[in-house]
Point group: C2
DNA sequence: GCAATATTCAATGATTCACTTGAATAAAAC
DNA sequence: GTTTTATTCAAGTGAATCATTGAATATTGC
């Protein structure tokens, strides 16, 4: 007959991967890292935390095995350890969306009213891409676009969008996307473009989900 | 520009589903509940904990929304809130298997040496089932078999196996399965059958994975 | 109504966690 | 070799978590 203590220890270890994600700041870190590797300093800015605190969260993730790090000169870059970690984050997000009460309200508080925001699904965008009657706009930071983007997309980081509206081809409809369903960049882009009289919609989720669905991507 | 506090609150809420699973005892509970609904008393016995402690963990899961409960007379039955929760548990387990260091050793400590244990995959079992040259043996408790099992499987709970060896048809090879990859029941069954000279192997994972893959199942 | 059973509640102490602050490293630039 | 920059370490504080204990509650059967 098997030992109770050994069973407990095994399930404790299985729960380690959940513990790693069981914190809002670490969830934010994983969400950003799902776009590609980043330095500690950049990550601290992304999650609005001190360097020391961010470093400690990253080391917790490192100890859990879900992320890895490499040194390049004076900087240390962190990245997800594998595809499975992205799967875990997305599944966790989906479970929270379906079951955590109050989440819709919190999303609305952060993202604002999305009811007037036109969104399209991956499948629709895919067929529109084949028809060629759409401009796909990646509004994430340059580095994330460089690490991987929807094939055919043009890059205009959200902070440059106002001054680079001229870069968007005339006539075609724009589909903006960013990091995922809870990323504000694409929302802001669609609102700005609509105000300027440009027809725009947002992709319902972001690049990691597109990539995970094995749809056409490009790099650099 | 979006508010930092609102973003933090949103990601805190997303992390709630991870927090719910971020404990070895709750992971065990979800693993058992993935087989079907159970009463508090039964669950406490499964995870070798006091009633009070088990009840508190179940209420934590309830608050997270990942499980639901219903009263029947004096008993309260808990069950997973949806398929997504099973997905979350399996994805988490996979992430831990790939990335949590020391997990293999802990599994070996609990399960013993599996190297001499023949295992077969879902796909292989599926085609062997079509050929009809295999006896599929469900060694979970009766209630779990009743809640759902591999179509064509016979039920002999592991604790009854020794006295019911006669129920196993002669000649055919046996494939035993139970709750999942870290469940000991099927291991014990295969070892016992092998000692008795009956050719036996274990399915590499359990009923929830079979069901999730939309392979043929039956109820009652 | 009263006793029995299943579950939950409430209070406790030990442990871990999240964040802050200020000091310590380690590589690169001068 | 000293300074600069990016990251980590170490110590401290308040809050949350976990298992334990014993009491409280709700439903059933009498």
């Amino acid at each position: 007959m098997a030992d109770h203590a050994a069973k407990a220890a095994l399930y404790d270890a299985l729960a380690e991967s959940a513990k790693a994600l069981a914190n809002g700041r670490r969830a934010e870190l994983v969400d950003v890292l799902a776009q590609g590797e980043r330095s500690v300093e950049e990550l601290a800015a992304e999650i609005d935390q001190t360097l020391a605190n961010t470093s400690q969260h990253l080391q917790r993730l490192l100890r859990s095995g879900l992320v890895q790090s490499r040194r390049e000169g004076t900087r240390i870059y962190y990245s997800l350890a594998s595809e499975v970690v992205g799967d875990l984050w997305r599944t966790m997000r989906r479970a929270a969306q379906e079951h955590v009460s109050g989440l819709e309200q919190l999303a609305a508080d952060y993202l604002g009213d999305r009811s007037k925001l036109r969104t399209i699904t991956r499948d629709v965008l895919r067929s529109r891409l084949r028809d060629g009657d759409v401009v796909v706009l990646d509004v994430r930071p340059e580095a994330e676009y460089a690490a991987g983007h929807i094939r055919g997309a043009i890059s205009i980081p959200i902070h440059d969008l106002r001054s680079r509206l001229g870069d968007i081809p005339d006539g075609a409809e724009v589909v903006a996307y960013c990091r995922g369903p809870f990323c504000v960049f694409a929302d802001e882009a669609v609102r700005m473009l609509s105000r300027k009289g440009i027809s725009a919609a947002r992709l319902e989720d972001g690049f990691p989900e597109w990539n995970q669905a094995h749809l056409p991507v490009a790099r650099s």
